[in-house]
């Protein structure tokens, strides 16, 4: 058993992370909680990218570290998403004194 040189270890960890993030996003009645669940899911995806990149056999083609670059972009997009999403959350809170996503339903058709 050699954990850190074992692809399954990373994949199982990231699937656990993903599922917990999903659960948080589905069950929380707090917009920030949902947001943190989304962050966990994004992290799980990034971890998968890097894991597959590291264990990939280089079969032809240049070694551009595509997986790493994709994870980097995931991190960056998560950052922008955090800025915008939390700004919206705070705006909703300022209007409603409440950040339960079920409360903000005025725009529902």
């Amino acid at each position: 058993m050699n954990l850190i040189n074992n692809l399954e270890f990373y994949l199982v960890f990231s699937s656990i992370l993903f599922v917990l993030g999903l659960l948080a996003a589905l069950t929380r009645r707090n917009a920030i909680g949902i947001f943190m669940g989304v962050e966990l899911m994004l992290n799980a995806a990034g971890l998968n990218f890097v894991a597959f990149q590291s264990f990939r056999k280089n079969i032809g083609g240049g070694d551009w570290l595509h997986g790493h670059v994709f994870s980097l972009f995931i991190i960056i997009l998560a950052a922008i998403e955090a800025a915008v999403a939390l700004a919206i959350v705070l705006r909703i809170f300022a209007a409603k004194r409440n950040i339960d996503p079920y409360a903000a339903t005025e725009l529902r058709g």
């Binding site: 950052a79 955090a82 700004a87």
Partner: protein, 146 residues
């Protein structure tokens, strides 16, 4: 590289366990005579009123957002800027690296200029104050408690 990260990790772990360890060991030597006055939140001798968890001004949040974006930018520029010297010396791709990184920087600088013009990075928002007819103290500016 794993060894180096191991070293770095052991620094982190040691720094993290230092406080609880020191506090835990000396727990047996130090006195502990708590009473209500000692355990009260300190508010310059007044009896504390209400919770401290009041809603904060959005300005802190604005600063945090602007920081977030620029932090991402700095982090992204590190691997690119690192190439620049070698590119110049080998004579290959220096123009490419320079143009890409500085167009990247320039786009974000536009963001900073926008914030500046809109007054979002001013702690005291002169424009808003003027619109609301609040006079600004000539010498010191209007100092909000913050």
């Amino acid at each position: 590289m794993l060894q180096e990260f191991g070293n770095a990790l052991s620094f982190i772990v040691l720094a993290a366990i230092l406080p609880p360890a020191a506090l835990g060991i000396f727990k047996f030597f130090r006195p502990s005579y708590p009473h209500a006055g000692k355990l009260m939140t300190y508010e310059c001798g007044e009896i504390p009123k209400g919770s401290a968890y009041v809603m904060f001004n959005n300005r802190f949040y604005l600063v945090a957002i602007v920081f977030l974006v620029f932090d991402v930018e700095v982090a992204l520029l590190f691997p690119v800027m690192m190439l620049f010297r070698d590119a110049v010396i080998s004579g290959e791709g220096a123009t490419q690296v320079f143009l890409l990184s500085f167009s990247f920087l320039f786009v974000l600088l536009l963001g900073l200029i926008y914030e500046w013009k809109k007054g979002d990075i001013d702690w005291i928002r002169d424009a808003e104050d003027r619109r609301r007819g609040l006079a600004k103290d000539k010498k010191w500016g209007r100092t909000l408690a913050s």
